[in-house]
């Protein structure tokens, strides 16, 4: 234990240590069910995929830097643009925000010792990793998905894309969706049932509200994508008719189902970033978040209303005018909850006593990009504007401002912010500030000119262009920007790696944050809390000093086993003590059975697929044979 007052006697702490010590070595990591270890596994895996997506991006940017460049041909370019989109969305941004940040932080923020379903948490990770490897296996076999990340039909049908590229896409996304669905169920059950006593829903951190909104959105949006991919495979492999007019189907069916998933997806991407921003701002503004209930509601509202605006991705498909106008109206209104949040953030900083340390700078960058990206988004709700500029670089500019500017910047800020908590060391502040500016300039230089070149008529997904169209200088600038951006990211990575080994050691609360994760040592002990806290406000770490209340009042040490309390959903009254599993081999075994079944399905061996399915079912049985101890 570090130099923190032990709330309970050293023997009990020692007991907790013994009960919660992980299994050593690689086997310990492969069979872990500890949310912190799983969070770190997600972090390393997603950063690898981020690098892959980045290489894809830089290759495309190099190809586009000059007119008639011959670095890559059109076929390869199609694979690069498709895999860049799939990687960044499904293999980087969602897993890093939910799997890495969400997994590591949610139990700590709510005063729990683990997630509600620790083994299913591990399963989510192994399924995610498997889905990433599955999709990239396509690259290795020269059959990477190549019809864009939206994979529109009829291009994606057997007739026009006969290889197995699209089969990798469809099956890979179904697998990835299963991982995210399991994670979403876990987050909601954890947030509902495992909050510390006294943490009623109005005292829950705003980051947890963001995760709750994301989890519900995932649960309700993923089935549309899964179904779309199932239809696609049935049509490609068995000749069913869903998307062809001749067979009585409709190509727009693909788009409807895709965007009923796809639009909520973009909120799934950006909401955790909002959550990170609403965590960093109060700490560095040294003030509670303005309009806390409205910000919490706005997070849920953005996710909810996001389900009702999806057809704005289809304004140029020939839908009836009445449909278009309705969705344009709804799309204008979805801006309001986001704006409420922006005002709340700005007012909190303006009325606080801000310290512009690196995490807050990244949030500043985030607000700039989010406002600009949001404005170009609203421009698209004007139907004639959308119809003129759809599929041009103006759209690419808009969504990169949002996805890179508004979703990645908070992640970068969050990496700095929680780095001391995870490692027990401070990052290098001066280098962090430099890394922010390089990244900010790089992002602006890469994505701002895309607005102009889009207005000048450059369309998306082109692998090259003729000289003399007025696009050349902008494309070159964007490529220089891309490499600058990469340099900024490398500076961040370098800072974190260097600081991991050489950073100044820190205690539990280097930034004086208000939420529960700052009350435990850095890094947190395996059992998180020696005493499960009893909470009386949304900022327990501040109020324990201000109002002088004792977080350890409940005396819940729970050292008879691997235990954490379960509480009532609304007001967090204590109900029962849950016994949590420790290491288990079944999650990784089940993930292996599932991915092998998918590989066999891809290869067309139906019988062997069924064998792996049965093995998976048997694994589930073995999993549930191990029951928690009863007291």
């Amino acid at each position: 234990m570090t130099a923190v007052d032990l709330p309970v006697g050293p023997q009990r702490v020692e007991r907790l240590e013994r009960i919660w010590t992980p299994r050593p070595g690689v086997l310990g990591w492969l069979t872990t069910t500890d949310h912190k270890r799983i969070g770190l596994l997600y972090l390393f895996a997603t950063l690898m995929f981020f690098a892959a997506g980045g290489v894809e991006a830089l290759t495309m940017r190099t190809q586009l830097a000059q007119a008639n460049e011959k670095l890559v041909g059109p076929g390869t370019f199609d694979e690069l643009l498709t895999m860049h989109g799939i990687t960044m969305i499904f293999l980087f941004i969602i897993p890093i925000t939910t799997g890495a940040f969400g997994n590591y932080l949610v139990p700590l923020m709510i005063g729990a010792r683990d997630m509600a379903f620790p083994r299913m948490n591990a399963l989510s990770f192994w399924l995610f990793l498997a889905s990433g490897c599955f999709l990239y296996a396509g690259f290795a076999l020269g059959a990477a998905p190549n019809a864009g990340w939206f994979d529109y039909v009829p291009l994606a049908l057997k007739q026009y894309d006969p290889g197995s590229n699209i089969d990798f896409y469809a099956l890979g996304l179904i697998l990835n969706g299963a991982s995210s669905t399991a994670a979403a169920i876990n987050f909601i059950a954890t947030i509902f049932k495992l909050r510390a006593p006294g943490m009623s829903l109005n005292r829950m951190p705003l980051f947890c509200y963001a995760v709750l909104a994301v989890a519900f959105a995932l649960l309700l949006a993923l089935p549309a994508l899964t179904l779309d991919c199932i239809f696609l495979e049935l049509q490609r492999r068995l000749g069913f008719h869903f998307f062809d007019v001749a067979g009585g189907g409709d190509p727009l069916l693909w788009q409807y189902l895709f965007w009923i998933f796809g639009h909520p997806e973009v909120y799934i991407i950006v909401l955790p970033a909002f959550g990170i921003a609403t965590s960093i701002i109060p700490t560095f503004a040294r003030r509670r978040m303005v309009a806390f209930p409205l910000v919490a509601m706005a997070e849920l509202l953005v996710a909810f209303i996001g389900f009702g605006v999806f057809a704005h991705h289809m304004f140029a498909t020939g839908l009836a005018t009445i449909t278009l106008v309705f969705f344009a109206a709804a799309s204008m209104l979805v801006v309001i909850p986001s704006t409420i949040q922006v005002y709340a953030w700005l007012l909190t900083v303006a009325t606080g006593a801000p310290r512009f340390r690196a995490p807050l700078l990244f949030i500043g960058g985030f607000v700039v990009f989010f406002v600009l990206g949001g404005l170009t988004g609203i421009m698209f709700t004007a139907i004639p504007f959308d119809q003129a500029l759809t599929d041009t670089y103006f759209v690419v500019a808009h969504f990169h401002f949002i996805i890179f500017g508004a979703a990645v910047f908070p992640i970068l800020g969050g990496l700095y912010y929680w780095f001391p908590k995870v490692t027990g060391r401070l990052y290098h502040e001066r280098l962090a500030i430099v890394s922010f500016w390089v990244t900010f300039v790089g992002t602006t230089l890469t994505f701002f000119p895309m607005h102009i070149v889009g207005l000048l008529g450059m369309t998306r997904r082109v692998y090259t262009y003729e000289p003399g169209l007025g696009w050349d200088a902008y494309n070159l600038a964007e490529t220089i920007g891309g490499f600058t951006l990469a340099a900024g990211l490398l500076l961040i990575l370098g800072n974190l790696v260097w600081s991991r080994f050489n950073g100044e050691p820190c205690g539990p609360d280097p930034f004086h944050g208000g939420t529960l994760e700052w009350t435990v040592p850095s890094p947190p002990p395996h059992y998180n809390f020696a005493v499960i806290p009893t909470v009386r406000s949304p900022y327990p770490n501040w109020d324990r000093t201000d109002a002088g209340y004792d977080l350890e009042r409940g005396g819940l040490v729970l050292d008879a086993g691997h235990e954490t309390p379960s509480t009532e959903v609304r007001d967090a009254r204590l109900e029962e003590i849950l016994s949590m599993p420790s290491e288990s081999p079944w999650p990784i075994v089940l993930a292996a059975c599932v991915v092998l079944a998918f590989v066999m399905l891809l290869a067309g061996h139906v019988l062997i697929t069924a064998v792996f399915g049965v093995l998976g079912a048997l694994t589930l049985g073995a999993w549930h044979l191990h029951e928690p101890e009863e007291t």
Partner: protein, 192 residues
């Protein structure tokens, strides 16, 4: 209880119940998407079923659905028995439910095979959607039967909280399968 002063009553909606409720939410959305696809294509077609395919005759589907609804009784009865501690009766009711559900499935497979003959799925979007819809539901029925058999097996070793919560979750799941089945048969028979 391991800590002093904790309440004696355990939660009526423990984490395991929520896990199943959330899983049902996502599966219900999947069914919603399939049902919406069927309705969407119906409204986009001049004729549904298309020319040359006769509408499904209602008698057997309705009979089988009634059988499905009836299985709700032994399934809920099994949970109530287990909660009262009567493990043996719970096992017997679960096995009864499974027997009826298997005959339901057998009947559905006969109808499925017969329908495959008269309207191959690779000839029309109507048949493609029809069989995907039905097949998805049958898969969920199989999963429900597997869950009930599992609990019948585990309950032979006695009742405990873990198994009871699991059985409660299973009854919730089965109710969902029945509701989905009702909507399914309505959509199957509505176009005439």
């Amino acid at each position: 209880m391991t800590a002093a002063g904790l309440p004696a009553t355990a939660s009526s909606r423990p984490a395991g119940w929520w896990g199943m409720a959330l899983f049902i939410t996502t599966e219900a959305t999947l069914f919603g998407a399939i049902f919406s696809t069927y309705v969407y294509l119906w409204l986009r077609s001049p004729r549904w079923p298309p020319q040359g395919i006769a509408p499904t005759k209602p008698f057997y589907p309705l009979l089988l659905t009634a059988l499905l609804v009836a299985t709700s009784v032994p399934v809920h009865g099994a949970f109530r028995s287990a909660r009262a501690g009567a493990a043996g009766r719970a096992v017997a009711l679960l096995l009864l439910a499974v027997a009826v559900q298997c005959s339901y499935l057998a009947g559905q497979f006969v109808l499925f095979a017969h329908d495959l003959d008269r309207m191959p799925p690779d000839r029309s979007a109507y048949a493609s959607t029809y069989f995907t819809m039905l097949g998805t539901h049958h898969a969920h029925v199989v999963a429900g039967i597997a869950l009930e058999l599992w609990f019948a097996l585990r309950l032979t070793r006695g009742v405990n909280r873990y198994r009871l919560v699991g059985l409660h979750a299973t009854t919730l799941y089965w109710d969902f399968v029945i509701v989905a089945g009702l909507i399914l048969v309505a959509l199957q028979l509505a176009p005439r």
